[in-house]
Amino acid sequence: MSKSGHSRFSLTRIAALTGNTFTELVRLKVFYFLLIFALLLIGSSIFMAQLSFQQEFQVLKDVSLGAMSIFTSLLAIVATAQLIPHDVEERTIYTILAKPVPRYEYLAGKLGGVLLLLALSVVAMTALFLIALFVRQEMLVGVTLRQTSGLRPEQVQEAVRTLKASAFNVNLFPGIVVIYLKAALLASLTLFVSTFATSNIFTICVMVFIYFIGHLQAMAREYWLQQNSAGWIAKTFLALVALVFPDLQLFNLVDDIVAGTAIPGPLFAQTAVLGCVYISVYFFFAWVVFHGKEL
């Protein structure tokens, strides 16, 4: 507390800003993308009618988790990019910062609102995905029971167990958490870019560029560093790129999950910590720029 009784940090103020940002984003009808996600699931189920059940579950997981990753990343960028420019354009930022609200609380509230929206979106998409997986599994169990009606009960049970094992796998959840962390990282980075960007279109363009570099840089790095001819200039350049742009490939664990491979605990923990560090560092950069910004 300062000498006047004004608290330098207030969770109540941040919660008020978070709640307001969340309402703002919900009213922008960003949830429409959930409809596209549901349609994708239905579409992929129709396509899968000609596949074996292992292939079918693999495609369903591949499509669902891939779509979840792309949709949450897009949502994180688009939703965050317009928050500060919109407040500046409409002058609502003056009424907020003219109250005893430190600028880092304003930023934390904005980011908090986006993270809440992303969390709810991921929960909704996970629920849709699990429902689709369960419905398909039950349909296939029915088919299997009909096909194996002449076999011994142990053989029938074994066939059903194998089928269920290919459908649901507990490893899906760490994978979904990593998808959320990647989207949260992109939201934090977008917030940073929007503190100095002149418009939200500029922010979105920069972020799409960063998104692709973030995914491709690991591949490029591997390729260049394997070349014996890679000199110090190439190495320095790659090190700089790695420092400035997040390595988004590290958050791409979908392939492992789809293949049914368990994500090792240490790898999950390492990815989670890395995600949190990226989020904190970009938030700090956003504050450094926004702290001295003339409104």
Binding site: S7, A16, L17
Partner: protein, 284 residues
């Protein structure tokens, strides 16, 4: 010694223009003080530095040199804004919030909660005459209603100083009169008001003191009566004066060195005429 509500000392603000190697001086060596309980008007043409000065006082823009204080505290300190309410020019609030939700949001930012926040929200909606629109979204509010909800949010934490940037800009005469009455009510309650305006007649009516800015420089400053008084002239306003009385006065003047410059019937203002003409029949 009583600390001034607002103290501006040697304030200069320079905005560099990128890529042109040039700069704009928005405010130059400004000094002014606003005493507690006073209504102070900052006047000046567009681009004279009024809004920049207000933003610096509120800590939204940092000064190039000089300092600003609110009740003795550096206005760059976030805590100094506990005592301040601000209404920007042409404010747009979150359109998806209702009037009551807007006040609750700003109240939470000022640390209000529970029963106090609820009662304060009700009081302010009544004060600005928006009780009937409390549950309507701001997207459906008129310009005047937005201005009034803006004033209500500025007052949510019972500030000692209220800063209003063009509070009546774009508002019709009736709405403008309501805002003027609210400002006079604040003055009666001992709240200091610092406002910028283009409406000179209104400023003259409500302000105790004014400062006139031109090109970022304070060119005139003082009490309204002192600035407007023509020292060697006297105004007499008579009621029910017969022609004989007027003749007697004229005769008396002839005997002295005084000169009658103008004799006319006082006129009402266009604002009063407009308000009278547009008033609902029941109100007349």
């Amino acid at each position: 010694m009583i600390k001034p509500a607002v103290a501006v000392r040697g304030l200069t603000k320079v905005f560099p223009i990128p890529f042109r190697r040039t700069r704009v001086v928005a405010v130059r060596g400004l000094n002014l003080e606003v005493a507690p309980g006073q209504v102070y008007g900052l006047l000046g043409p567009n681009g004279s530095g009024k809004s920049t000065t207000l933003k610096i006082i509120l800590g939204l823009v940092s000064p190039s040199s000089g300092s600003t204080e609110i009740f003795g505290r550096d206005s760059r300190e976030v805590g100094s804004r506990e005592a301040v309410g601000f209404l920007p020019e042409n404010p747009y609030f979150y359109k998806y919030l209702t009037g009551a939700e807007t006040l609750r949001f700003y109240g939470k930012l000022c640390g209000l909660s529970g029963v106090r926040l609820k009662s304060r929200t009700g009081e302010l909606l009544e004060l600005v005459g928006l009780q009937n629109a409390r549950d309507r979204r701001l997207g459906g509010y008129s310009k005047g209603m937005l201005q009034r909800i803006g004033l209500a949010q500025a007052l949510i934490q019972e500030p000692k100083l209220v800063v209003l940037d063009e509070p009546t800009a774009g508002v019709d005469p009736a709405g403008s009169r309501d805002i003027r009455d609210l400002i006079l009510d604040l003055k009666r309650r001992g709240i200091t008001v610092l406002l910028s305006s283009h409406l000179l007649a209104q400023v003259q009516e409500i302000c105790d003191r004014v400062g006139i800015l031109a090109n970022g420089v304070l060119v005139r400053e003082g009490r309204v009566e002192d600035l407007l008084a023509i020292e060697n002239q006297t105004e007499l306003i008579l009621q029910n004066a017969t022609p004989e009385v007027l003749n007697d006065i004229a005769a008396l003047l002839k005997k002295s060195s005084a000169r009658l410059i103008e004799q006319r019937q006082p006129q009402t203002t266009l604002e009063r005429l407009f308000l009278e003409a547009t008033k609902a029949p029941a109100e007349r």
